[in-house]
């Protein structure tokens, strides 16, 4: 198969994966006790009100009809439905929340990759020093810290003394200012820069610092570990030994033989970390009141708002599929042996 065919194949697989997840979530939410109306309005609402509200949301129909209707609207009409209470289109809600989560995820990834790669490379280069041991202890300890705890510690330890903001995405003033900007993409950084509002961009970055550090440090544990392991794996291969036998400089051996070959397993790992990243984002967003999809889905679950949860699941699945597609294409850049 060529790359093009592989991409097509992956794309064809995405709806299947989405179907599996949506089916899982759909039945979980319907089969288990509780529904949005009783959750929202208490258990003592009159019978006929309940019936009417249920009918409005289509909850009075048999389960399999609801299921088919739901799949029909997602896959054919590309419609994610409306929220139970305010009847806001879910796609609108997600569109307004997604940029915040994407920003956070990218920033956190940069932190995690930066720390991980630096630690991994230094460990491989100075293998006989104390550094590799330190890196391993670091990665184990960081892996053990719950991300929300790390967030709290940073809030107390870093934000309180330095006066960094601990919640929200922007100062209230800028929140209002942002709304009145002519150019809107939803991405605060892009919007503020496009409109020449450097102050808003700076404010946003300051607000993002703590959440990004929190999520980034949390993920850096596993990045450090995998970088170190894959680099040292490549460092005992025949080609590395052969390079040393040719008198190649050690830093070069570490980077062009060790790290360059470690990129292949690293890429696989990075692709799989998207799940951890998005999961960690839920807790990080809750801790820092960062209004992204994570916070939205968490509230949706508590309110038992089917539409929000299913909509978010759809978006998550699409993100995961997109990332794995990117990873697959990246393989062909990183490893000349890969031909799909």
């Amino acid at each position: 198969m060529g790359l093009k065919e592989h991409v097509l194949y992956r794309l064809a697989l995405t709806p299947l994966m989405l179907l599996v997840l949506l089916t899982l979530v759909f039945f979980l939410m319907r089969v288990l006790p509780g529904d949005p109306i009783t959750m929202l309005e208490g258990k003592n609402i009159p019978e006929e009100v309940l019936a009417r509200r249920r009918a409005e949301l289509g909850l009075d129909k048999p389960l399999h009809v609801q299921y088919v209707n739901y799949l029909y609207s997602v896959f054919v009409k590309l419609d994610l439905g409306v929220t139970a209470l305010e009847r806001i289109p879910v796609s609108y809600l997600i569109a307004t929340r997604l940029p915040a989560t994407v920003d956070l995820a990218i920033a956190a990834s940069l932190v995690a990759i930066g720390i991980g790669v630096a630690m991994g490379l230094l460990s491989a280069r100075y293998e006989e020093s104390w550094f590799p041991q330190f890196a391993r202890v670091y990665s184990s300890v960081v892996y053990s810290i719950p991300v929300f705890y790390l967030g709290l510690l940073l809030q107390v330890g870093l934000a309180r003394p330095s006066g960094l903001p601990t919640t929200g995405r922007l100062s209230p003033v800028n929140m209002v200012a942002l709304d009145s900007l002519p150019v809107r993409t939803g991405f605060v950084l892009i919007d503020s820069l496009a409109n020449g509002r450097l102050d808003i961009a700076a404010d946003y970055l300051v607000h993002m610092l703590l959440p990004a550090l929190t999520l980034g440090i949390y993920l850096s544990g596993i990045f450090t570990r995998v970088t170190y392991l894959s680099v040292s794996d490549a460092m005992v291969q025949d080609y590395t030994r052969a390079a040393r036998a040719r008198g190649i400089r050690e830093w070069r051996v570490v980077t062009r033989y060790g790290f360059r070959n470690a990129l292949i397993p690293l890429l696989t790992m990075a692709g799989l970390q998207v799940a951890a990243l998005l999961g960690g984002a839920v807790l990080t967003e809750t801790t820092f009141n960062w209004e992204g999809v994570g916070l939205l889905v968490y509230e949706g679950i508590l309110k038992r708002d089917y539409a929000i949860v299913q909509g978010a699941v759809t978006v998550y699945a699409l993100i995961v599929a997109l990332v794995s597609l990117v990873v697959d294409v990246a393989y062909t850049l990183v490893d000349p042996r890969v031909r799909y």
């Binding site: 997840l21 288990l32 006790p33 053990s144 107390v156 005992v236 699941v313 699945a317 995961v320």
Partner: protein, 293 residues
């Protein structure tokens, strides 16, 4: 006795000590600290005393001629933080144990089936498992935990679902590689039945791999449990639980009452670290990476 050498041996020593401590706490912690974990009321000689809330760590209190020491202070309800921290081990370790057992058992059975039977069953199961594996597990766990409600079994199931795919993928992979291993082919040539091949050749070679995954997935389960209870899911107050207490303590954190949250958080870290170290060190000691001679 000699001192441990290298990361693996130190890791095993420290990890085992931590694991032993937490297992001991889970078994006996509650009986050691008594009622103070769940109430702020002390009864001395038939008289009832109330412990004031938000006492800082190291506070001493004399009630009815007896001196009480609150080395970790008291929480917003006047309960002893130390007592809660100590007795909190039971809930989280029970959940971790249950969920790991459930996911390991289900994942292994499904992985065996998928890998050995192959064909359509394998395709469908793999699609389902891969979808779940790639999906943010915590979100799935949150959803399930929110729907199932409180209780040890409910929260355990919510966590178990997340880790089934890990076991499934590992077991399936091992089974696939074993299926074409020469010693399995030799068994086929000797006339062995599929049942005999699975039980005598495949399972014995899968089990060690599962076992090596257990401690790390146990550690993961603790973190996930803490995440769920931090969000207020799956647990019913006043059951002592680190994640839950941390969440409650969070509101008092910035106000300066740091001890309510800090200590439960530390307990989470140390318990996760214990199992993680045991798992990683054991793997390294049992499967040393080859060093060219």
């Amino acid at each position: 006795m000699r001192l441990p050498r290298g990361f693996a041996e130190w890791g095993l020593a420290v990890g085992t000590a931590l694991v032993a401590l937490f297992v001991a706490l889970a078994l006996a912690g509650e009986s050691l600290v008594g009622q103070l974990a769940v109430s702020n009321v002390v009864v001395v000689d038939g008289r009832v005393y109330e412990v004031p809330p938000l006492l800082p760590p190291g506070s001493r209190l004399t009630v009815g001629g007896r001196e009480l020491v609150f080395i970790m202070g008291t929480d917003q309800l006047g309960r002893d933080v130390f007592a809660r921290v100590v007795s909190g081990a039971r809930f989280v370790l029970t959940v971790a144990l249950l969920s790991t057992a459930i996911s390991a058992a289900l994942g292994t059975i499904l992985g065996l089936l998928s890998g050995y039977v192959g064909g359509f069953l394998d395709r469908v199961l793999s699609l389902v498992m891969d979808s779940m594996y790639a999906f943010p597990g915590l979100i799935l766990a949150i959803a399930i935990a929110a729907l199932l409600g409180v209780g040890v079994l409910n929260i355990s199931m919510a966590i178990a679902v997340v880790y089934i795919p890990s076991y499934y993928r590992m077991v399936r992979g091992v089974v696939l590689s074993l299926k074409s291993a020469p010693f399995v082919e030799a068994a086929v040539i000797a006339g062995a039945s599929p049942w005999s091949i699975v039980t005598r050749h495949i399972l014995p070679n899968v089990v060690p791999q599962i076992v090596s995954l257990l401690p790390v997935s146990f550690a993961d389960a603790i973190i996930t449990e803490a995440g769920l209870t931090f969000l207020g899911l799956g647990i019913e107050p006043p059951t002592p639980d680190w994640g839950f207490d941390l969440n409650k303590g969070r509101q008092f954190f910035l106000a300066g009452y740091w001890w309510i949250g800090v200590f439960p958080g530390l307990m989470i870290i140390l318990s996760v670290l214990g199992f993680l170290l045991v798992g990683e060190s054991l793997n390294e000691l049992l499967n040393p990476r080859k060093v060219e001679a």
